[in-house]
Symmetry: C2
Subunit: 132 residues, 2 copies
C-alpha cells in the first residue's frame, strides 16, 4: 500500500508521519491541543503549517462547531477536492467527542433562486456510547 504522502506528492517527514499516526489513533475528530499533547516534541509553528497543508491536500478536513476551537478529522478515500463528505459532524453533549457519522440518505435541500454546491450538517445530542 502506497503512502498517502507519496500519493499526494508531499515529502514524507517524521513529523508528518507522527501527526498522521495521531489522527489514525483516534476515531473521532480532534483539536490541535490533543495533537500537541500526543506529539513527542511539539513545535507549534510546524504543526500549524502541517495542518494547513493536510487541509489543502485533502488529507484532513476541518470541523467548526459553535463556541469551540476547530476540530480536524481524516478524510475518507472518496473525499473529492471540495471535501464533499457524505456524513454529518456529531458533537456529543456528554462525552464532548466530535465524530463523523455516515448517513444513508444525505438530505437534498433546494432553495428557490439559490444554487447550493455544498452542504455541511452538524448535530448535537447523545452519541452511541452515551445514549444508553
Amino acid at each position: 500500500m502506497e503512502s498517502i504522502f507519496k500519493k499526494k506528492k508531499m515529502s514524507a517527514t517524521p513529523f508528518r508521519n507522527e501527526v498522521l499516526a495521531i489522527f489514525n489513533k483516534y476515531n473521532s475528530a480532534i483539536p490541535l491541543s490533543i495533537i500537541e499533547d500526543e506529539l513527542k516534541s511539539h513545535n507549534r509553528i510546524t504543526l500549524y503549517r502541517t495542518i494547513k497543508i493536510f487541509l489543502e491536500k485533502g488529507i484532513i478536513h476541518e470541523i467548526n462547531l459553535n463556541g469551540e476551537s476547530s476540530n480536524y478529522a481524516l478524510c475518507k478515500e472518496e473525499c473529492g477536492d471540495n471535501h464533499n463528505h457524505q456524513h454529518i459532524h456529531f458533537k456529543c453533549s456528554i462525552c464532548s467527542q466530535v465524530t463523523c457519522v455516515d448517513i444513508d440518505r444525505f438530505p437534498k435541500i433546494t432553495l428557490p433562486n439559490f444554487k447550493i454546491d455544498q452542504l455541511e450538517i452538524q448535530a448535537n445530542g447523545l452519541c452511541e456510547k452515551c445514549n444508553n
Copy 2:
C-alpha cells in the same frame, strides 16, 4: 414596542443600542470586524463582552463556517433557548455574504443509536443576488 433589552432584563446602554442598530442595518450575518468598523468608538473589550452577553441572552447567534472567523446574526423572535432556528446558514462563494435562509421543510435526520437534539445546516453556493 418594548425594547429588547428591557424584555431580556438587560441595561440599555448607548453602546448596546449602537451594536444592535448595526445588526439591524445588515440583512446578513456579520463578523466582528464589520461591527468594529461601524462603531463610532470601538472598544474591543466592551465589544467582546457585549457579543458574549447578546449570545447568552439569545439576541444573536453565532455562525462558524470552516476557515473563517465567526459571524453573528440576530435571532428571530421565535428562537428558543437552544437557538433552534429553522433556517440554514448560507455562504455565497461570490459575494461572500453569510445569510440565514428560511427553509420550508427542515430536514429530519435520524441516526441509529444516536439521539439528535439539534441540527445545524450550512450551505455554500450562489446566493439569490449572485445566481442570475
